[in-house]
């Protein structure tokens, strides 16, 4: 600590500190990126590099097609292997962002001679974009609350379980890139709002375009930003920056969104986008009012105001009345089913069973909040408070984002994913502020020689977020040490030097204002916060490793004998691929449609893109009908094989029997002869001896439990935990062709029509014959 000239030292130190802070910040961000990427690799390490679940298989198949055929073929792709016989125009019904992203990455890598397979690129797309999302979070939070909060928020987001659940390696779904796009769009909006730069406004529109390409959740952006604009206008925060942030986004964004085939004219026709146009008009009216206010004297302005208000209100009422009438004339009020079920949480369960049947569309339970965002749930309120101290345009946006996303997450468990970034950002702010206050108050408690002024300004150093890790190691926390760490190591010495030199007259009131906590309390507070963060990290790693890494096509279970791996799904799809004709049609419940087309390469009747309710209802009806009626339905659809998933042998709970009630509901919604009551005994759904005859005769029951009694002699269903109702029966119109090792997937073939039509049996004496056949009462061509 040499003595140097005060002024030069001050400016030099400042530059040096800024530079070193920048380097540290960049290095920390890099580490955060590595953390975000690597925490998502548990699935690859524990299982294998494989695409997960259902939708990712479709995205994978589309990406394969893109990489093989090019973008124009992809755009015009008419897929004749799904939704037989309707087919599906993939190019016009898919959000292409994810596919194009992965396809571009694959193409880039190949063009620089890194020959990765498409599958590898797809598997690792999600982890790469989580790193991007962390960096976007840093940028967004930095705009609102500075670097420290930004780094903290980025760290938290890098490992928030809710986001991990959707972006582990292999989870190749739209959300993987969409969350990045969402946060980045918000960042650019806030950036534009803070700077008023048209450059950022244009970037914002482009980023919004990417989001529209990626995910249907873009409607959240196009409703949230108008809400924020409206909020700013109402609270009197209108500025030209607000205008620049919003108006170009609406104009450019809508034009760009209309370019995406799946959105098209919806960008101007549906009610989801209506709010943005309304706010667009309001913004212009407000801008005009501010302009006129600048021209006129206050008195004149008042007169003009009353005149305009009366005329304007009258016109407005007329316009609104016409609009309401137009909108009300459409049956769904211009809203799509999924949006309506967001606004009215009971809508789906009342009217659209197909939306309600998806587990991720259910409202979340309380434990799922603790599972998915863990301690953030406690930190968020603190974050909201610190956003109000002081309230800026940016921080009010964050609060609004949080409040709306909390509501949406309460409606659908899947939208927890939208809440997660908001919770991370606000928790990051809360933690950063808390560390700020605690470390600062500790510092000012030090012997008098110390001085807190520079710290008061620069306390949000890049080091703040790294404090957690360092302090955990240091065990006993002395004042000295805490303070050192809080400043960040590289700049420590210089800074102290500067502090001694640059003592200032403001010092007394600063101390008065800032030193609100006693040293011991601060130390305890820091300790608690660190423990809290530690718990969060432990929970996140556990969630990433155990809860969210299972690929769901391979199941494992642990017992005292060791690890069991159930690879039945791939076994069955491989069987289909190798043992059936290439044009054969496979019917199954829609959950398995994407996997069947992608893995078995066979035509399916319905798949996870549930665009045609009638078609799904047809399959649901067939599954809930008796064998003969089901045969007729399947035969009319040219189905050759029927695939059911059965968990009764190994106790796999999400099998077709447990989903069956939804098939009945969806089928009954279109074909009223299927009645839910027929399948319920006193309101209870069961397949044991109490099950109704309709239930025990329907195709799904028969296909699942055919020959099941042969496994243990009793027919004990381990998934339902009771003995099944009907144990011994024969199939007349279907024949079993394949059952996987653990009976999880069973494949049946439709028997062809009988070659001959048998006459009525009248020979009483023919004992041999009569034992073989019974009850052919009337003409039945399907015998």
């Amino acid at each position: 600590m040499a003595e140097v000239e005060a002024s030069t030292a001050a400016s030099g130190d400042d530059r040096l500190r800024k530079a070193s802070g920048g380097v540290l910040c960049a290095f920390t961000l890099l580490l955060i990126g590595v953390l975000a990427f690597s925490i998502r690799l548990f699935s690859v390490v524990k299982y294998e590099s494989v695409i997960h679940e259902f939708d990712p298989y479709f995205n994978y198949r589309v990406t394969q097609f893109l990489s093989k055929s090019g973008i124009y073929e992809f755009w015009n792709w008419f897929d004749d292997r799904t939704w037989y016989p309707l087919g599906r125009v993939i190019g016009g019904t898919v959000y292409p962002g994810l596919t194009l992203t992965a396809g571009t990455m694959w193409w880039l890598l190949n063009s620089i001679n890194i020959p990765l397979s498409v599958e590898t690129v797809c598997v690792f797309t999600a982890p790469i974009f989580s790193a991007n999302a962390s960096w976007a979070t840093y940028l967004l939070t930095k705009e609102a609350k500075g670097h420290g909060a930004g780094l903290m928020a980025a760290t938290i987001l890098a490992m928030v379980p809710s986001y991990i659940s959707r972006s582990v390696a292999g989870s190749y779904d739209n959300e993987a890139v969409a969350i990045f796009a969402l946060i980045f769009t918000f960042y650019l909006y806030v950036k534009t709002l803070n700077t008023g730069s048209l450059f950022y406004a244009t970037l914002n529109a482009l980023s919004y375009f990417y989001m529209v390409c990626s995910w249907g959740g873009y409607t959240f952006i196009i409703n949230l930003i108008p809400m924020h604009v409206l909020l700013c206008i109402i609270t009197g925060r209108y500025s030209s920056r607000l205008y620049i942030a919003y108006a170009p986004l609406v104009v450019l964004g809508t034009l760009l969104a209309a370019l995406v085939p799946v959105v098209g004219f919806n960008a101007v026709l549906t009610s989801e986008h209506f709010a943005s146009f309304l706010v667009f008009i309001i913004l212009h009216v407000v801008a005009l009012v501010y302009f006129i206010k600048g021209l006129l004297t206050p008195r004149l302005f008042k007169v003009a105001m009353t005149f305009v208000l009366t005329v304007g209100l009258a016109l407005c009422f007329a316009a609104v009345a016409i609009l309401v009438a137009l909108v009300a004339s459409s049956p769904t009020k211009g809203w799509s089913g999924r949006s309506l079920s967001l606004l009215d949480p009971t809508y789906a369960s009342k009217y659209i069973p197909i939306i309600a049947s998806v587990s991720e569309h259910q409202p979340p339970t309380w434990p799922s909040y603790f599972m998915d965002i863990n301690v953030l749930a406690f930190l968020v309120p603190a974050g909201i408070i610190s956003c109000f101290l002081p309230l800026s345009d940016a921080s009010s946006f964050l609060v609004l984002y949080l409040v709306t996303s909390v509501y949406f997450s309460g409606v659908m468990v899947r939208l927890m994913l939208v809440l997660a970034p908001a919770a991370c950002i606000l928790s990051g702010i809360a933690l950063s502020e808390a560390f700020n206050v605690l470390t600062r108050s500790m510092k000012f408690q030090r012997p008098r020689s110390d001085d807190g002024l520079p710290a008061a300004e620069d306390i949000i150093t890049p080091g703040t977020s790294s404090t957690a890790a360092t302090i955990v190691k240091s065990g006993n926390i002395t004042k000295e040490k805490t303070e050192n760490v809080s400043k960040g190591r590289p700049s420590k010495k210089n800074r102290k030097e500067k502090e001694w030199v640059g003592s200032s007259p403001v010092r007394p009131d600063m101390e008065e204002k800032l030193c609100v906590l006693p040293a011991e309390a601060s130390a305890m507070g820091i300790l608690f916060l660190i423990i809290l963060c530690g718990l969060y990290v432990v929970h996140c790693v556990w969630a990433a490793a155990e809860a969210y890494s299972a690929p769901s096509i391979v199941l494992t279970s642990r017992s005292h004998e060791g690890l069991h791996v159930f690879d039945d799904f791939r076994e069955s799809y491989a069987w289909l691929r190798h043992n059936t004709e290439v044009d054969d049609k496979v019917a199954s419940w829609w959950d398995y449609g994407y996997q069947t087309t992608a893995m078995a390469n066979r035509t399916v009747i319905v798949d996870n893109n549930t665009w045609n309710n009638t078609h799904i209802a047809t399959v649901g009806t067939a599954m809930s009908s008796p064998e003969k009626a089901a045969w007729e339905i399947f035969n009319s659809l040219d189905v050759k094989y029927v695939l059911v998933v059965f968990g009764g042998l190994i106790g796999y709970p999400s099998d077709d029997i447990n989903k069956f009630l939804w098939m009945v509901r969806i089928g009954g919604g279109e074909f009223p002869h299927i009645k839910e009551e027929d399948y319920l005994r006193d309101g209870n759904y069961r397949v044991d001896a109490q099950g109704t005859p309709t239930m025990l005769n329907c195709l799904m029951y028969k296909l699942c439990y055919y020959r099941f009694v042969e496994t243990d002699g009793k027919g004990f269903d381990r998934a339902r935990r009771y003995e099944i109702g009907r144990k011994h029966f024969k199939l007349t119109h279907f024949e079993e062709v394949f059952t996987t090792h653990n009976w999880m997937v069973r494949i049946y073939k439709l028997k062809p029509q009988k070659n001959r039509i048998r006459g009525k049996l009248k020979l009483k004496s023919s004992s041999k014959a009569s034992s073989m056949r019974k009850g052919a009462g009337k003409k039945n061509p399907w015998q």
């Binding site: 755009w75 087919g87 190019g91 070659n755 039509i757 006459g759 020979l763």
Partner: protein
């Protein structure tokens, strides 16, 4: 030609008929090797006229006793015979590996059969008939009796020799030459389910017939009466296997084939009964010497092109053609009809059209693909009485327009183009004036 055929007859179980190159060439629909199962080898001589007519047409008959212990229909997974003549009504069980199921599997594998029963029909024979949709009278003693339409050739009192003339109206089954004389029948009657679309009554009893035991007095009303009784029926299975079932073995016998006939109450006396013509023509039908259609050379393409595309676009114009031939017993002859229809089918037919024929077997038509995309099928479902079914289905996807197949500029939108470009120009001028005119 004939020499070649004879050679092949001797050489192979599966006979290949090489027809002349001029019209369609190809193999016969059926082989020529028949197994004849009899109760008693005397049937061979008593029914020699019928067997002779079969042999004269080139069929290769192998006579076996029904209870021959070495009897077998197939060996090493291959059927040894192409058809079966079951003239063993009273046999309780077959010998060797043959049983009821073996016979039915033989039919289900696409082979033909003539089955004749009589009043001594065993449960085995009745069982086979029932499986083919033909229900013989349950009463084992019953015979068909007709006190009005009996044949007065003999001086018998019980009126069980029936002169049937209620024949099915079908040239393809009974030949183009009308059978003038009544067909003599003595045996048991059977019923067929009218809703059974596979079974046809070829020879029905008259409304005055009934089925009962002729030796006892009628105690209760007979179960089978009137024209509900079928005397001879045919069944064409879904795989086009053909089965003829007759309630009378005598129908095929030399005695009835040769005898003259005079129907009771009728003046005319025919020198010769219709039996010979009847059994010859129906056996031709059964052994696929007539009424067997084949559809070949299915082709479709866009109008003006020749290559078959893998996918059509909505509103494309396309041409579809198929060649249909009928087996005449010696060669494939063009099949001529005006009612062959094509369906362009996706869950329901979007296009249903008669195809025109050039009388040389080629059926073709052209139509516009509907304005609906999806996976369609070209379907030809041609089911006609007596003919084998023609059922063709060919899957073809129909895609919507590509992004660049729509009109680039729409005439009615020119005002909008003008509006947008003039707005752009005006805005440019305005900005220029606003920024620099001060």
């Amino acid at each position: 030609m004939a020499a070649l055929r004879l050679l092949l007859l001797l050489a192979a179980a599966m006979l290949l008929v090489v027809a002349s190159r001029g019209d369609a060439s190809g193999a016969a629909p059926r082989g020529r090797k028949l197994l004849v199962l009899v109760d008693d080898l005397a049937v061979r001589s008593s029914h020699s006229a019928f067997f002779g007519s079969l042999q004269a047409r080139g069929l290769d008959l192998e006579f076996r006793l029904a209870d021959d212990p070495k009897l077998s229909l197939h060996r090493y997974g291959q059927y040894l015979y192409d058809g079966l003549v079951l003239f063993a009504p009273s046999t309780p069980r077959f010998g060797g590996s043959v049983d009821q199921n073996a016979v039915l599997e033989f039919i289900d594998a696409g082979h033909d059969m003539i089955l004749a029963a009589d009043s001594s029909a065993s449960d085995l024979i009745r069982g086979i008939a029932t499986e083919c949709g033909i229900e013989f009278d349950e009463d084992p003693e019953a015979m068909v009796i007709d006190h009005i339409n009996y044949a007065s050739t003999e001086v018998e009192g019980d009126h069980t020799l029936i002169a049937g003339d209620d024949l099915i109206q079908s040239d393809v089954i009974l030949g183009s030459k009308k059978i003038e004389a009544p067909v003599l029948f003595r045996g048991i009657g059977h019923a067929v389910n009218p809703s059974n679309s596979l079974v046809l009554k070829v020879l029905s009893a008259s409304p005055s017939a009934y089925s009962a035991n002729p030796k006892t007095k009628l105690a209760s009303p007979p179960s089978l009466t009137g024209s509900g009784i079928s005397l001879v029926s045919i069944m064409q299975a879904r795989n086009n296997a053909r089965v003829l079932i007759s309630g009378s073995l005598d129908l095929f016998s030399n005695r009835l084939l040769k005898s003259g006939v005079k129907k009771a109450g009728s003046k005319t006396r025919h020198e010769k009964s219709g039996n010979e013509q009847f059994v010859t023509e129906t056996s031709k039908w059964v052994f696929h010497e007539r009424g067997h259609l084949k559809a070949v050379n299915v082709a479709h393409h866009k109008v003006g092109e020749t290559n078959e595309p893998s996918m059509y676009r909505i509103n494309d114009d396309l041409e579809y053609s198929v060649e249909i031939y009928e087996w005449s017993g010696t060669s494939w002859k063009p099949y001529v009809a005006d009612d062959v229809q094509i369906q362009f089918y996706m869950m329901s037919p979007y296009v249903l059209k008669n195809m025109s024929t050039d009388k040389k077997g080629l059926y073709s038509t052209s139509f516009k693909v509907p304005d609906v995309y999806g996976v369609f099928q070209f379907k030809v479902e041609y089911q006609r009485l007596g003919y084998t079914g023609v059922s063709l289905a060919k899957q073809i996807p129909v895609r919507p327009y590509r992004h660049n197949e729509y009109e680039r500029f729409i005439t009615s939108a020119y005002p909008y183009y003008a509006a947008s470009f003039s707005t752009m120009g005006a805005f440019f001028i305005f900005s220029f004036a606003y920024l620099y005119h001060k």
